[in-house]
């Protein structure tokens, strides 16, 4: 059965089983490989995308649950205000190492800032605790989120 999914502002029709996780539609069917596979069980956060602005683990989100929803991936998050700020802060703070988890980290951070423009440390911990980084970039992630929040509060 074909499903219509709206991804990064564009409608796609994909012919897959209804329970196919969004992750594989993105990566293998549509070729949007910026969203990463880490565990397939919503345990690592590498596959995080936005569904209607909410950080969502695409590896456990079936495609049939997305009718009428807007999906945003790392490839387009820079077009959102919060996403652009987060990406800039990520570069300013030299957050990445191997980089494999960073798509998911950025998506989680951008969703946090969109909903909570001035997050506390506890807010950051709450929003980011589901995103694993094997290189251990957590300290810089926290600093970058704070910078992105600050640049937002300055109206930048």
């Amino acid at each position: 059965m074909a499903f219509n999914v709206k991804i990064n502002g564009k409608q796609h029709s994909v012919d897959v089983d209804e329970d196919t996780p969004l992750l594989w539609v993105l990566r293998d069917v549509l070729g949007l490989t910026g969203t990463k596979f880490g565990c397939g069980m919503a345990l690592c956060g590498a596959c995080t995308v936005h569904v209607d602005g909410v950080a969502t683990r695409s590896c456990v989100t079936p495609v049939n649950a997305l009718q009428g929803s807007e999906v945003t991936t790392i490839e387009a998050v820079g077009k959102t205000v919060a996403g652009a700020r987060v990406q800039k802060a990520w570069l300013d703070h030299e957050v990445v190492q191997c980089g494999y988890c960073q798509s998911g980290q950025i998506m989680s951070a951008a969703a946090l800032l969109a909903s909570t423009p001035k997050p506390t440390d506890a807010d950051i911990d709450g929003a980011m605790s589901g995103n694993v980084c094997r290189c251990g970039t957590y300290g810089r992630i926290r600093e970058a989120i704070k910078q992105a929040a600050q640049s937002g509060s300055k109206g930048g």
Partner: protein, 616 residues
Amino acid sequence: MTDLARRSFLRTGAATGGGLLLSLTLPLTGGAQAAGDGPFAPNAFVRIGEDGRIVLVMPYVEMGQGTYTAIPMLIAEELEVTLNQVRLEHAPPDEKLYGNPLVAGVQATGGSTAIMASWQPLRQAGAIARTLLIAAAAKRWNVAPEACRAQAGEVLHPATGRSLKYGALAADAAKLPVPKEVALKDPKDFKIIGTPAKRLDAPAKVDGSAVYGIDARPPGVKIATLAQSPVFGGRVKSLDDAAAKAVKGVRQIVRLDDAVAVVADHMGAAKKGLAALKIDWDDGPHAKLTTDQIARELEQATLAAGAVAETIGDTAKALASAATKVEATYQLPFLAHAALEPMNCTVHVRKDGCDVWVGTQVAARAQAAAAKVAGLPLDKVVLHQHLIGGGFGRRLEIDGVTRATEIARHVDGPVKVVWTREEDIQHDMYRPYWFDRLQAGLDEKGRPVAWNHRFAGSSLPAGCRLASIRAWIRTVSTARSISPMDCPICMSNTCGSNRREFRPPSGAASARRTTSSWSKASWTNWPPPPSRTRSPIGSPSSKNRHAPKPCSNWQRPRPGGARRYLRVLVAVCRSSMYSAATWRRSRKSKLPRTARCGYGASWRRSIAASSSIPTR
């Protein structure tokens, strides 16, 4: 943005990177050298086109350690270009050109060696190119080369104010003979080395455009996932794949001797198909082997006769007569590397050739592994290197390439074999298991008089770390008795030093807790482990590798002239360091075999047993 073509050719623009142009160019067919080769390529690391494009070829792969920034810094410093003028390219497999001089010429990224190995050769590569470009400009202007200088991708003739960009000089420079020796810059003139440069790979890693091995998408690629025998050495006894074949999107089931793969249109279908397989395994010779059993055997090995590395004084006597004896034991478990990018490899086997897309720490070994399985000569196998989403030593092994090629042989067209996370953890080649037993003897005043260290485990870190132990405490006994281990292991980051640098100090701390204030001070000065004894190739100290000076009171004469004894006994038992190939051989022979790969001379010998350890 759904640019389906960008997987084969990634270029990150200047938008978010402050003017950076980073190009990881990997053509999907043909040779591994990228299109757009310049006419000027004085060595394997620098190419400059007439269009001014400056390409630097990266001999060591980027997996988070920053090598795709540090190595360009070395080359750019001498080439006299800025970092935002260069494009980067993965090196193709070629050990003659890109072998790591610190790892016996193997094309390997590992052991924190890349910058040490590159320090002189890659600055020379840049300097050679610069020298030739200056010579080409001087010739054109009919002036002395000494009257010219290079700066930011141009050659200048200050006396007349003339300048020429490198691109304009590339064709002429290519015709000049390559000098055998060139002068390197005085470090005081460095403009790039020593500065906090921004990572060149960062922009592509924050917008999703960075391409890892798992992101390879050659046209027509199918996705496969697999189940390997849950017991090492087991094999497929029977297979019912009817339900799996009925899953929408599943195209093919590949049955191997010890694994089954499901080939599908996408990973979702492949995983669903995998779950629908009914596989009956023959668990093979290791069916009843447990981790507990391995641990027990290692513990026993630390009590049995081992082989002494080095002894000073009569440790047995000193321990026997010590007023207080302290013993501590430690176990280091098997550990999976758990890189965030699961194991994966994409392979297209054809009658006349084979393409491999993978992120690997050992490109040439990976190419050879694919060639062997595909039954093709090496020059018919094109390996496309990729960024690595975490290596930690796991991608120094080529079992994933071998496995993917075994599957691809049965598939018409390219197939990307992606391991599930569960498979990735279960079939890791683990960091070795170690059991350490430390004994200290203290005199009546709590002063250390004897030290005895026995350990048993896999041989992997023994060779590369004993020298450091020796430097640390001055006296080490080394000896090993080796027997097979039934579990595949491989390098993992700091698999030697994480025991070396924790256990002896920890044992010392145990002893310290029992001692008087005098000896507390003595133990407190336990020397920090020598974290680095190697120097960059070509640096003044590289031929004079000073061992760090021990800083403990062990060196100082003791009050009253009392003698002290020190012995470390090393018993390496049940050891092996399996490569995928040796592991495979062992499975086929139904016998676990001892194997060595990667470090120094063979560890497979048995060495004379040590004297017994005094017990409490």
